[in-house]
Amino acid sequence: MTDVPQNSAIEAAAPRADSTQPAETLAAALLPVVERIDWNALRDRTNGPAGEEPLWRSLDELSAAPEFFDYLHREFPRQAGEWTDPATRRSFLKLMAASLGLAGVGLSGCVRQPEEKIVPYVRQPEDAVPGKPAFYATCTTLGGYATGLLVESHLGRPTKIEGNPEHPASLGATDIFAQASILSLYDPDRSQTVMRAGRISTWSELLTLITAELPALRARHGRGLAILTETITSPTLADQLQTLIKELPEARWHQYEPLSRDNVRAGAKQAFGEYVETIYHFDRADVVLTLDAEFLTNMPGNLRYAREFMDHRRLARTTVPSGNSKIEMNRLYAVESTPGLTGAAADHRLPLRASEIEGLTRALAARLGVEVTGSIKDAPNGIPKDWFATLIADLHAHQGSSLVIAGDGQPSHVHALVHAINRQLKNVGRTVEYIPPVAAEPVDQLGSLRELIDRMQQGDVKLLVILGGNPVYTAPGELEFATAVERVDLRIHLAPYFDETSSLSHWHVPSSHELEAWGDARAFDGTATIQQPLIAPLFSSKTAHDLVAALAGHPEQTAYQIIQKYWTQRLGSNGFLKRWKRAVHDGVVAGTRADSRKPEWKFVDQIFPAESTSDLTASHGKQGLEITFGPDPTIWDGRFANSGWLQELPKPITKLTWDNAAFVSPQTAERLGISNQELVDLSLGERTLRVPVWIVPGQPNNSISLSLGYGRTHCGRIGKDVGVNASDLRPARHAWFATGVEVTPTGARYPLSVTQNHHSMEGRDLVRVATLAEFTIQPEFIDLEHRHPEQSPTLYAKYEESENAWGMVIDQTACIGCNACVVACQAENNIPIVGKEQISIGREMHWLRIDRYYRGEIDAPDTYFQPVMCVHCENAPCELVCPVAATVHSHEGLNQMVYNRCVGTRYCSNNCPYKVRRFNFLDYDAHFNYGGEQASALKLLRNPDVTVRSRGVMEKCTYCIQRISEAKIEAQKENRPVRDGEIVTACQQSCPTQAIVFGNIRDPKSGVAKLKESPLNYSLLGELNTLPRTTHLARIRNPHPSLEGPATIDTPAIKPTK
């Protein structure tokens, strides 16, 4: 050795780097060619400014050799993970070798596995029983509002989310976002470390920086500090922020939520002169009118609303009406600017452009006796006269038991007018309740954001702290948030992903997931929940509490301490621990529901801008089009963009996955000469966006709907560059809809993946529907022959009768099509996602799907939902044809799929008339595991009670057999039969409207057996003699008799459509 190595790392990296010629040639021959190391450059790197010396592991890393990073990121160098690629030259050679190997050389599996030791607990924790999950109460928030959860934890590993029955916003149900939040927890794309200018840094470094800045900031009384948050309902965080502002009075707290409730708040202010929160009591409402309000899915408290609404509607538990007994059922009128679930559930749905709703509301208010300026008494143009008259009569007839709701996207005057209408109809105090605002410091958020942008542009903001949210992406494009933010000297961003805003921030702090951090939040009615962590943070993440505490000069406080301290004040220190434990355990803090209040009525109708339809049309640009922006049904405002489950979840109405699209009505598409999947340029003012078109029946004419949340550029591997960003087009003033949008067809096509291509029932009697009137006159409208055809003679012996016979009933009146069951099933049963391309060829894996059919005219059709999963036929066609008996019948009536035995002939799927079987065409488990790396985090997500299926195997709904087995074991231990309601399937548990009921049909007292007695009960495709164990209840509509004559009878239309 001639050269003395400078340190051991060099020696390790280049053990043969001595100068002797033969060794060098040998090394050169053996090692891959590596470029000569540029030592000067390396030294420059190691001698960075004080405190910034990078940590390095080896010379290769230091020289940033791509080979090194390649090596670092691959478990097996090179070849591994290339199978899923289409045939490359490399794989060609390999496959040619393999194809020769097919001649008969078997592969040897004799690889010695590394030894691993299993060590038992020295001291077993009290509650940790392997195989027995524990449930903990916590909450999740959306738009700031909390939904209470019970989270299933297997030995410290959260695996499944359920609703907390004691929580007022959940009542035991969950929505898709809550269900999918378990996936976000384990998302390997989550941001994992503090980043400084795009490079890995540490929390303590940030603390050093903040601590250094603090004295100067305090001296300036906080001038130059701006904090931007989303809507905050957390009492603790609000308290922290208010204290901070008190200490630094010149600091500013801004709020911005892309799907803000600004209009709701402004409307309340117009009506009452103050902010109030409105909550609704659907259980007391007989006639409901929604004005573009998606109360079933998009409103705080939606799960409770859906439950109460449907409880007041369903007839499932009603027995056959006898004589003149009257059946009570509420009636829903829905006016919608974008086809949604509320419209699908409505008895009378009216598609109307968002801008025209105000005119309708004013006319309605005037007719109902509200003092409004002007004298519009007639229905505006385009609204059927009889519809309008019937609505008014119906509302009049139900004073005190009616309810009118305006949507978040409607302007504030509409909200004020709706308050006036509800007041006029004497609904206040009965179906409508006012409470003090739940969100801390309610403000006009769009105004608040604009103010922040102005201040940033003027250079008034020196330090910007963004606590959650992604304003660079979500702020309306016109506001140019991204340019303004560049003018801030120091920008700190707390977010779960390294997102668009993070990429423009100096510091990025990963925020902890709600399941791994302490916190608190309030529900729509003010009830507070302590959010307790289920698992220690997976990555080095922090919460908003930590960051605000650091800004307040208390970096030593943990979120837990801060929250407990706050609640000590609220609950009183006397006996605090007991109450705290109770609150954490229950998932609700007792006595925190907001008190009802009667705000003073201050509404004076003002001269609003012209609302008449004709005026608006004039301003609609030469094409007369308007555009409506709204939350995406599955990825909301983009915060769920990296959730594979939600990306792949078919949007309820369109069944679109993995994309957003410009929705247009069939007539408008015809007028503009555009077709499905065609790319068009949408221009609004000076901004243009290229979007694919999707034609949606029921969309108002001359109105385009585009959902937010897509077109993310920084979010992770799943959501990156999926769809287009509608925020770019969003106007700065009124962010929900805009007139004067222009459409330019490009002629180019962009494939969209939908899970359902056919929307008509083709005259088949699949979803059976009747009106309440028809049902009352003839309860047996589903004739018995069709309901459950008698079992045909068979040569085979009947199955043995057993104690339990599992069955299910799905109430199609109650089903709102919200998809919660689909995600719940996916989470419970370890169902993989397959990606857009596989969806486009029909290979989605969802065990449970919600079929959506249209009936009636194409411009305003009725929409029906039909959840379909394996119906567990007693005469199962799949069982007959499987050559290896991989699908067999259990004595309790389950159609079981034996994955181990399945060889994958797919005959069972062909022969299944319901097409509910799903096949692993590829290794989906590995196919979509984020490119093979870092997927180990996702393994923690798995439900340990459910087998993960391999490639080439069929799978389908099992009725959650793992839950059945668990209950049966419990029952056996106690030597008793399984009780009714003890087994709750995942879909059933998540359903907000309790449309799914499961149980033992042999027990006549069970809920499911009683439902099977209902005259509404029928077997889907029962005429095939499959004798399904899952049956459906016919849908009953309650249209106003004066608007709808006797229901039309579907005539069989057997002509196929191309």
């Binding site: 194809s99 050559p883 196929p1056």
Partner: protein, 463 residues
């Protein structure tokens, strides 16, 4: 050799009805033996053969490549999906099985019916059967989600104490196809033994002599040999005959046992058998026409053979036409909305092109064979046989894919689109077939020498 009066009279009849002879006049025992054995033993490998073999072998390698890729990645490389859980591979399987029908029919059934004209084509047709069944047999295995577990379809004693599901038609299918393949190979090999002995005796080099010698199993041509041979051959023919009907009936039942509209029909088994004979004869014709030209076998495979085959095609084609008509009638007459929709969807749906192409290929075009001028026009026969082959492939496509893509719940309806791998496997399987066939023509006598010598004996008397 003794001849029954019956055989004599058959020959006389064939002469008197004015049709072409089954063997051109002027041949002797020696000329027949020389001409046929020379193809294998003395004639140099022709350029055409090398060229054909190169193409076929390339296609075979494409097949193997696609198969390796399939095993590595999974059946997802094909366009198969839900609801079209069976597509190209099963279409190919049924198509090949159908083609594999002609051999046994010609050998066994016509043997039992004393149709002397079969002699010139039976060896070749049997070989074709074997190779077609080999191609066919691969597809159900490749098409499995977990092909390495294919043996689970067979009833073998195992530690799991599990039997296959005997109610499933796929099990019957496994039995039927393996039985058919076994009996066909025995029948074919048995028929080869006297000719293998001829080749052994005439081979100039040691290696062929040893190989043919081993394969000839000590055949010396003694009277006892011939007596046993004739008995055994007749018996095997008897055993093979029901298989001609059973194999494709069972393939038909694969579909008939389901409840898919378009599959669930009682006439599937006979319909499938008719289709199989139809396509099998078409394939023999497709292959025989170029081969007799390339090897100068016009004397042995005469116009009489081609015309007879054309007549069989016409007859079975008419049965197919009846089948299509029956399908439409049943759908109408049943009043079942799903059946009616299925028929309309075939004729007017998104795959209507394939249905009408099928009608054109299988019903319209074979009608030309009513004309003797067409039946005696070799290029026309060749083209018609090709069209029938395409038509029969389309027929399987129509049955398998169109029925599946729209069944009961419209929400599950999908359009199926094959991928490049689907086509690779289809074309590759043709490569496998052709490779085997070309090897056969090069290594074994493609026309039964000794049976032709019998014919020479008979015809000489008449001449």
């Amino acid at each position: 050799m003794s001849h029954s009066p019956h055989e004599e009279s058959a020959l006389v009849a064939s002469e008197t009805d004015g049709s072409a002879p089954v063997i051109e006049p002027g041949h002797t025992y020696a000329s027949v033996t020389d001409q046929i054995s020379a193809i294998v033993l003395t004639r140099p490998t022709s350029r055409g053969w090398v060229f054909g073999f190169a193409i076929s072998f390339s296609l075979l390698m494409a097949f193997l490549y696609a198969t390796a890729y399939l095993f590595a990645v999974g059946v997802g490389i094909w366009g198969t999906t839900v609801p079209v859980g069976w597509a190209f591979p099963i279409v190919n399987f049924v198509w090949w099985i159908g083609i594999g029908h002609a051999g046994t029919l010609i050998s066994a059934v016509l043997l039992l019916l004393h149709q002397e004209w079969r002699t010139s084509i039976n060896r070749f047709a049997e070989a074709m059967t074997l190779f077609a069944v080999s191609c066919a047999g691969l597809f159900p295995l490749l098409h499995l989600g977990r092909p390495w577990l294919f043996y689970w379809l067979l009833p073998y004693p195992n530690t799991m104490d599990l039997w296959p599901n005997f109610r499933s038609p796929l099990i019957w299918d496994a039995f039927a196809v393996t039985t058919y393949f076994t009996v066909s190979i025995l029948f074919w090999y048995m028929g080869l033994i006297p000719d293998l002995a001829t080749l052994r005796d005439r081979a100039k080099n040691r290696l062929p002599r040893v190989i043919y010698g081993i394969m000839a199993m000590g055949w010396r041509g003694s009277a006892a040999h011939w007596q046993r041979y004739e008995t055994a051959y007749l018996l095997l023919g008897g055993i093979a005959t029901p298989l001609v009907v059973s194999v494709h009936s069972i393939v038909g039942m694969d579909f008939a046992a389901s409840l898919i509209p378009g599959w669930h029909t009682t006439f599937s088994p006979p319909f499938f058998v008719a289709g199989a004979i139809f396509s099998g004869f078409a394939m023999v014709m497709t292959l025989m026409i170029p081969l007799r030209w390339a090897y100068g076998l016009q004397d042995f495979v005469t116009m009489r053979h081609l015309e007879n085959m054309a007549k069989v095609i016409l007859a079975t084609g008419s049965m197919m036409a009846y089948g299509y008509a029956a399908e439409v009638f049943f759908a109408y007459y049943s009043g079942n909305q799903y059946e009616r929709f299925m028929v309309l969807n075939r004729a007017l749906g998104p795959y209507a092109w394939s249905y009408w192409a099928l009608i054109a290929c299988n019903v319209a075009v074979p009608q030309l064979l009513w004309f003797q001028s067409v039946r005696r026009n070799i290029p026309a026969l060749f083209i018609i046989s090709l069209i029938v082959n395409v038509g029969m492939w389309l027929e399987r496509f129509v049955i398998v894919v169109i029925s599946l893509h729209r069944d009961y719940l419209p929400s599950a309806w999908r359009i199926y689109a094959p991928t490049v791998w689907d086509f690779t496997h289809l074309v590759g399987s043709i490569g496998l077939f052709m490779t085997l066939l070309l090897l056969f023509t090069r290594l074994l006598p493609m026309i039964s020498i000794f049976e032709l010598r019998e014919l020479v004996h008979k015809t000489r008397d008449e001449v």
